[in-house]
Symmetry: C2
Subunit: 175 residues, 2 copies
């Protein structure tokens, strides 16, 4: 199955997202409209400290008008290798370098309307550095035990889909 | 922490999404721009048949230009109760009624740029009905064993964040 584009037009070009309206051919003479958000893609890092506690960051997310706990993450720059991006974002958001990296998997966060793809990594053997968040980020960092993470998920304190997805990849890989 | 809106303007109003540009006050005299996609929210259903196989649907997703395996899901209509929505979408996409429902949790799929919230449910005790997909959907349905699901995740065949998140809630609730 495939939906061929009959026409498309860009309705918004921002600094981060581009929004397009497309008309698609669904076959059998049927057409339909699609509203699509284009995003550069991102990485997310499931990082464990020497106590096997998970490094989480909390920041205010304007889109949802609240603070959220998430794994460290960030957008891929044009032409950037995804592992280099993960190392850069991890250092910027947490101040840590990590010696050991493992690819966990990739996800589409909202395939119904957005092309955002997030590449997920596990990081271990952390070395302290200096936290250097972007100008437009204010980030709090904490490490949580596996039990604390489970409680955060079950009490609704952890709602971020990339974080939940990364935890599932990790669970399936190691169990 | 909170980012107060200084100004906002709507740059796109579609049938499904609305896109806004906002200027926010980050405190300490700093301001920043935010590009935000507003979405009505959705439900997703982790449904198991009598063999304990998970019901999955495959459909072409124009945003990512490929077919994806996902749990049945759909947008919430204005004023609609989320459980009613889950029952309606489940019946439309799979043809099944379910007798037993359990709330699993809620997720934000892309909190960096979108307010989409998905409410996740588990459904069991399925009764056959008639599949009635929306006019603009072409859906294939299959049931997979737990082992098949695990393989699909680890081989990269299952990339949908709401599906992975629902599986994690399910795992944490029952283990």
């Amino acid at each position: 199955m495939f939906e061929r584009s009959i026409s498309e037009r860009t309705v918004f070009s921002g600094n981060i997202i581009t929004v397009k309206e497309k008309i698609v051919d669904m076959g059998e003479g049927k057409t339909s409209g699609r509203e699509i958000v284009e995003h550069p893609g991102a990485v997310g890092i499931l990082a464990f400290d020497k106590n096997n506690h998970l490094i989480m960051v909390k920041q205010f997310r304007k889109a949802v008008e609240c603070e959220l706990w998430e794994i460290p993450a960030g957008k891929i720059e044009i032409g950037e290798n995804i592992l280099d991006c993960a190392k850069r974002e991890f250092k910027e958001e947490t101040g840590f370098f990590a010696e050991k990296w493992r690819f966990l998997g990739e996800i589409y966060t909202s395939p119904g309307f957005a092309n955002e793809k997030i590449f997920l990594f596990e990081a271990r053997d952390l070395q302290s550095g200096q936290q250097l968040p972007d100008e437009d980020e204010i980030i709090t960092m904490t490490a949580f035990s596996e039990d604390e993470i489970r409680k955060m998920v079950l009490t609704g304190l952890l709602k971020d889909a990339k974080t939940l997805s990364a935890l599932l990849f990790y669970y399936y890989l190691d169990n």
